[in-house]
């Protein structure tokens, strides 16, 4: 059989029906669909407006950013060229004045045409150029001599010791014992215990 007959029969029946088969369910949702369409249209309008505003804002922002970027780039280049210019000038100046190169520094660019220059002078350190021979160190001390010999004259003038440190001198003075003559002394009496022991109170001092 000719299978196209199915197509023809089906099409004919559907066309004759004139889109009424689903009419009831279509009508049920018609108003709801129209309301949704209106809402969608409204939202679409708002969205379109919002998109337009955002687009305009973006364009303005982009424009301002490009201007700012251009200015910054231009200023950087200008500063760079000025820096090179002044550096060259300073090099020349240094050469002319015979100043060591590390004594002048460009500290800061205050303005396009003004450069703050700081001069730092080298710290000069002077060294001794002559050899000085140190012979000795002299200390002046008062020395006291003590002796057991009565014949020694105590009117010895103060001695200036040469080549001895104060500490040594002081040690000699303080540590040397004073020698006294031994002598016997007879002491009578004593305390009660000594009397009972009948010991004589002979003491050697």
């Amino acid at each position: 059989m000719d299978t196209n007959k199915i197509d023809e029969v089906f099409k004919k029946i559907i066309d004759n029906n004139n889109n009424e088969y689903y009419q009831s369910e279509a009508l049920n949702s018609k108003d709801r669909i129209w309301d949704k369409l209106k809402m969608a249209s409204l939202n679409s309008g708002r969205r379109a407006l919002l998109i337009k505003i955002l687009a305009a804002a973006s364009i303005i922002l982009l424009f301002l950013s490009s201007i700012l970027f251009y200015n910054l780039k231009h200023e950087y280049k200008r500063n760079q060229s000025l820096a090179n210019y002044y550096t060259t000038k300073l090099k020349n100046l240094n050469t002319y004045l015979s100043i060591p190169k590390d004594t002048i520094y460009i500290q800061k660019y205050l303005h396009d045409t003004i450069v703050k220059i700081e001069k730092r002078e080298k710290i000069k350190v002077e060294y001794l150029t002559q050899n000085i021979h140190i012979v000795d160190t002299v200390y002046k001390t008062d020395t006291v001599y003590k002796t057991t010999d009565k014949s020694v004259d105590f009117n010895i003038p103060k001695i200036i010791n040469e080549g001895k440190s104060l500490e040594i001198q002081s040690f000699v003075n303080t540590k040397q014992p004073v020698v006294k003559n031994k002598k016997f002394a007879l002491r009578f009496g004593g305390n009660n215990n000594e009397l009972e022991d009948t010991r004589l109170a002979f003491k050697h001092e």
Binding site: T3, D7, V9, N16
Partner: protein
């Protein structure tokens, strides 16, 4: 109001004209979408999308005559339906089908009513139903269908042939059920 007048007022942004256009062609587009989608809730969404697109692009389309404009609207509804069904589940074109001899007596026109026709169409798998509807009911050729569904022409032809066989089988089942 004539369709040309309605379109003219729509282009000037008249809400009344949009409403008139909607009322005039709502049923038609509903049935077109319904035959492809087979689901009432899906049809609602597709109708909204279709009319939104129609209203949005009405300024761009050139009015030649009523049938051309109606065909343009139907094409939008069909494309939206295909896009919708494809977005929900990837369209599959079933290759295996029982090959059964077709009995001429099953296609006696007076015995077929619209109820059986729509039930038969709705019981077809998605691929068969879409190709059969586009070819047999809407009148598109295989080249157009292959472009719409992004398939080859031979696949379109194969799907149509298998759809017809399936329809005949279903009609046979209906007849057996009645007996």
């Amino acid at each position: 109001m004539e369709l040309k007048e309605i379109i003219k007022h729509c282009r000037s942004g008249s809400q009344l004209a949009f409403n008139s256009l909607f009322n005039k062609y709502y049923q038609l587009l509903y049935h077109v979408s319904k035959r492809i989608l087979g689901n009432h809730h899906d049809v609602e969404d597709v109708i909204i999308l279709s009319f939104t697109k129609i209203f949005k692009n009405i300024n761009k389309v050139e009015y030649i005559n009523d049938p051309c404009f109606v065909k343009w609207m139907k094409t939008i509804a069909i494309n939206e339906s295909i896009r919708f069904i494809d977005s929900k589940k990837k369209l599959e074109f079933i290759e295996d089908v029982r090959v059964v001899e077709i009995d001429d007596s099953l296609l006696n026109e007076p015995e077929l009513d619209i109820d059986i026709v729509y039930k038969t169409i709705n019981q077809l798998p998605d691929g068969y139903r879409i190709v059969f509807t586009l070819f047999a009911i809407e009148g598109y050729n295989h080249k157009d269908i292959s472009q719409m569904l992004n398939i080859t022409e031979s696949t379109s032809k194969s799907q149509l042939r298998k759809a017809r066989i399936r329809i005949v089988n279903q009609l046979k089942d209906f007849e057996n059920g009645h007996k």
